[in-house]
Symmetry: C2
Subunit: 219 residues, 2 copies
């Protein structure tokens, strides 16, 4: 019985890993689509998001079945509840990568990144790609070593988000371009927030400490 | 035993109702702060968000205890899992009301709403207030009659969000003002999305139908 149950918990971990893998692909392709103004790649990201959504539904269904049939307690229960939370964060990271791709599609054949904003967005998408990879590493191979990296990358994203605003204030780009840049920056900044949520869940599972960092709404 | 358990489920419903009530207050005050450029009111909203976060933590803790001690199945299990999801959505609605208030604080003594944008934002905050009230009604007194209203209000918010963008394109406001307006509009539009998530969860609990509308990421 116990062995069957362990297999089911492993199944949740496998689905989280599969979601994280797809999120890495999504943000990498969305970033390339953004910087190369590649519509085809943007369309790929938009179409691929449904697979992330499906994985979340599957994971949630498995988690509900485990709760109903195994009635887990203590550490096992924490794993199941945390999986539900992490799947929601990963699903949202997928959405945000899709939103970046949708900005590319909306502006095409113009570039969604106005002249002068390429450097700051290169840094943002690089940080977003690295944070997605760190999350993938963390869920496929839980351990605390990736957590500080994730916090640092999130901080970089927050700093770059503020830099976008000061650059906007000093620029003479068109109003519609300002709106694009504001949304793009917001999507990438939120991408980092959700990565931090996943990391905090893993930290909680590994240490059992539900500390003040886990107070929701730290964005 | 069954009676104790029912009390605990009622406890979850009470906490959701308390959260929804605080969300109504938050969005009402944030809207007034925005339109009256009232810094004091904005500070109240920002300070009050911690109470919504605390309620979410309490609700999540109660839900975990119910899962551990009562091992609910079938409809009861659905209630517990859905409560976890709804508390996350309500917490996020509180954050978004706080973000609106923070925009007021950032720009004060200037207005966060530039000249010419008052009408569209009056309509957006009115719709956001009404959707919050509909959610409060729905969680305190579950029934399907409020669901169509919530969908309609969310559609209004989406339409008004697009109107903000076309108004931005035609305006000659400063770049920093465009960024403010873009974020404000995005916060209110997302407020509606989270209300729809809560409504869909209630609909699912009442009908048992987990239909395609519940595919995540429909924003």
């Amino acid at each position: 019985m116990r062995e069957v149950f362990q297999n089911e918990l492993d199944g949740l971990a496998d689905k989280l890993t599969a979601m994280a893998e797809k999120v890495v692909t999504a943000i990498d392709k969305a970033s390339e689509a953004l910087h190369e103004n590649n519509l085809e790649l943007a369309e790929e990201v938009i179409a691929a998001d449904a697979a992330i959504d499906r994985l979340q539904l599957e994971l949630d269904k498995s988690a509900a079945e485990i709760l109903a049939l195994q009635a887990p307690v203590a550490a096992d229960l924490r794993v199941v509840i945390s999986s539900l939370r992490m799947s929601a964060s990963l699903e949202r990271m997928g959405d945000l990568a899709r939103h970046v791709a949708q900005q590319v599609r909306i502006r095409y054949p113009d570039s969604a990144v106005p002249a002068g904003f390429e450097p700051v967005f290169s840094r943002m998408t690089e940080a977003a790609g690295r944070i997605a990879r760190a999350i993938h590493h963390l869920v496929s191979n839980p351990g605390l070593e990736a957590v500080p990296t994730i916090d640092d990358l999130d901080e970089s994203l927050d700093t770059l988000h503020l830099r976008v605003f000061s650059q906007i204030s000093d620029s003479d780009i068109k109003p519609a371009e300002v709106a694009d840049v504001t949304l793009l920056s917001r999507y990438l900044e939120r991408f980092g927030d959700h990565a931090v949520s996943v990391a905090q869940r893993i930290e909680y599972l590994l240490t059992g400490n539900w500390d003040s960092k886990l107070i929701p709404g730290t964005d």
